[in-house]
Symmetry: C2
Subunit: 566 residues, 2 copies
Amino acid sequence: MNTIRINLSTKQWKVEALSHDDILLGGRMLTSKLLHEEVPAGCNPLGEENKIVIAAGALAGTGVSSSGRLSIGGKSPLTGGIKESNAGGTFATSMAKEGLRAIILEGKMPNGLYLLKIDGDQCEFIPADEYSGLGNFAAAKRIYDTYGKDYSLITIGQAGEQKLYAAGISITDLYGRPSRLAARGGLGAVMGSKGIKGIIINSRGKKLNPNAANNEFKKARKDFNDIVVNSERIPVLTKYGTASTVMPVNQIGALPTMNFKLGRFEKADAISGEAMYDIIVERGGTGKTSESCMQACLIKCSNVYPDIEGNELCAPIEYESICLLGSNIGIGNLDEIGKLNYMCNDYGLDTIDVGGALGIMAEAGYVSFGDIDGFKNILKGLPGGNLQSKLVGMGTAICGKVLGVERTPAVKNQCMSAYDPRGVKGTGITYATTPMGADHTAGLTVFAPVNHHNRDGQIELSRNMQVTRAAYDSLGLCTFLLGATGANPQALINLLNSLYSLELEVDFLKHLGKKLLLLEIEYNKMAGLSSADQIPEFFLKEKLPPFDLEWDFSQEELESVLKDLL
Amino acid sequence: MNTIRINLSTKQWKVEALSHDDILLGGRMLTSKLLHEEVPAGCNPLGEENKIVIAAGALAGTGVSSSGRLSIGGKSPLTGGIKESNAGGTFATSMAKEGLRAIILEGKMPNGLYLLKIDGDQCEFIPADEYSGLGNFAAAKRIYDTYGKDYSLITIGQAGEQKLYAAGISITDLYGRPSRLAARGGLGAVMGSKGIKGIIINSRGKKLNPNAANNEFKKARKDFNDIVVNSERIPVLTKYGTASTVMPVNQIGALPTMNFKLGRFEKADAISGEAMYDIIVERGGTGKTSESCMQACLIKCSNVYPDIEGNELCAPIEYESICLLGSNIGIGNLDEIGKLNYMCNDYGLDTIDVGGALGIMAEAGYVSFGDIDGFKNILKGLPGGNLQSKLVGMGTAICGKVLGVERTPAVKNQCMSAYDPRGVKGTGITYATTPMGADHTAGLTVFAPVNHHNRDGQIELSRNMQVTRAAYDSLGLCTFLLGATGANPQALINLLNSLYSLELEVDFLKHLGKKLLLLEIEYNKMAGLSSADQIPEFFLKEKLPPFDLEWDFSQEELESVLKDLL
């Protein structure tokens, strides 16, 4: 497997083979290791010295279920620290088919906006001024119209071009929709700062690892995929998608509601996975209750949400978006949430940080909670550079600072995800301690069979989840596999051993995760970030209804979470 | 001498005497030492844990020329690091008369807005809801109308109440004008976050150091004041004020013009100290070409700038404001600069960071360079909470981030002062290395008799100036004394020895300055800030006309500046 390193300033590139020692290096481990080695921790995230690292995992393209997550890394303009954001879609698989484990963007285009077209070991710089100001959907359409359908795309929308800190990078799914976002941490702004509108890669490459055709690997793959298909958790995800999480989190009183003021939303029923399922079935048309976002995924947690006439309104609608663009701003209607969600996808924005920022706007009185037209008006000014829209596009924390709002639910400047830390305490600990800023994907604890209100054991739970997720992220594996294969690490090890002729043992995974976290913590320390940021004061002062939940972890406890990992 | 420590959360206070060992502890040394010891470096600057420390110097109130600077310190919301901002006015002298070296504000008022009234060792908490939304001038007038004239005041305007990061704290001058601003670093936002609109202190206290009446001190004071009166530099400041600096800096091509694009302004003549002098003389009325801002000042660099009918338009107009609100945004007219300046004083804003932000607004196309009505319209929306105004009130760096402007002249999020770093290289080094963020007051080199374009010796020059200024700031001495007494440290030492029965030698000053800088650097390190931040990339890429000046100091060189101070 190769990496392609592209210097934008000089328009030169270099293809290098991974050494045998590094043959598993991919995903978040690759992005973070490269940043750690090559990007000065003190650099300006939107300056020449930052890099964008796009990495597939070691199993991409091999038919292993849900192994095609794409990691995108860079120093984050939002957190000021190391950042990896991963998403589904087809790009990682297409990279693997081209024999690529990573694409590394260095420097900046001297001027103008460009598309990068990668075919094998060739790289083409295509002036893209005509794409300037296009949303992801219009940009993807124009690319497909011009170059044909046999490509996977990465693009940024207007938010990335405007270098807004909640700008993500979108990745096309199996149907060519640019709606899988590596959303968090403002990596879209980094891509915008480099003058890159999009990257196009052939989806029909033939350079896959030949071991994938061996019987030993095929057997391991069947075993692994069988575990996925036969798990208990997966059918719920397949049927209701991630939206299945709405009701249980509402039940335990941890659903972010009215800017994290309440833990239950009176209209939760109407925005639940069950409600979404019923609406999609009832409306029919292009609607789908279940869909894969990448090749070979057996979980199929995605969906196509249709409007009342059956036309595609947003695909997919996911749990975090439902809460941050829904309950958190008082919107209890999936059609309206879907419209906001689609706008975010098109402009290339993180729904979490935007939803949090809209909550701040409401808290500050610029719009009322529940005022869907007000929220839509704020968002839709973004392509035109409206200042309110831009501020929302900068994310929750900066919005809160400019508007002087104390109740700003962010850590390391990044908005919390859809689990109130007082109600899902382990995830709160993750927000406070992950090198990524408040981000559930770094260590979500809500699916663990514990009392999420009770502080006992939550530190260990968060730590273990952070380690496990770090390992999965480094292998390009979708986190939803965890509910199935998490308890059977040997199945995963068998895949790696057979594909790469290795002799790993199961403790490899823990070691991988810990090594990664230590490296990220070290980078952040060099960048001046703390390894434990207490969550904002208002969570410590206000009890969360209806269960009067408190946040009660001290700074010392938080500092202990990732202190002695090895 | 005493300190009064006021806990706002509990409305309790405590008066403590300084120990003999700490008898000189004052000014910036006191503010920074206390922050270092008591304010967690990782705390939220607008949260409960931050403190505001207000400190006079050891010579305040004793009739020594220009010894009544007031230092205000806190963790800065703007830079994220330690901050001291000092200004003239009468407050420090009034503190000294009340036997106070420092006022320390801890915690936060639980709710509402308050005035603090300090009389001797008594402290009164006066509900100030009726002051909410008032500018500094209206607030000061209401306070004087209510409590009489025998008070010195500290207040915040609307900017501080809105917790904007360019909000300063204003201090009344000899004529009761709230127009001496401890402007930099957003300390007004910190005061706003604590629910304090203003502090009122009796100006007729009688608790001065009795040694001030001794002959030995009187002799030392006469010697010191004679040096001031007889120096060469001072008469220029007396006649033209700080505005005298416009023409020389324009001459060397380092006057910030059109957002630091040019080093000379075609209308520099019209905004020079000489032009201001002529206008004031010609218009007469309330105009004054020279005025003291504090008791006993023999420099009198202040002024009262009248409008065409002779009515006070702004008092004073100073060099930094002239450049940042003038040449930097293409305004070549002192009347218009004065109006912007007055608005900043009234709203309680740092003219430097606001001028820089207006430059960013122009750079981003929201207004044109030179469009005075456009700039006024942006500013005047501030009391009403207009979003553009708020963004400008957040200062240059945040404005640049939200608007995606690469050409943002800030270090540690703080706007550079009115010396282009490519043209006054020593001051550029100060911007990059002082713990205070880009701030000329931490180590201005422009008055040193060197070639400011030449890099040789600039590191040493910046280092020495930073040390000297740190010492002066710690003693509550106005920096303009340096042009007179800087070369005669013994005169200053004689003052301290005779007033406090000490036996200091002249190296005390250097030791004091170095000790302070090390302490501030250590605090910033704990807060995650670097001790050397390279200046923004665009200064490295663009040559400054008309002399094609470059910035050419490496990161390694910058890190060496304050590395081995002791």
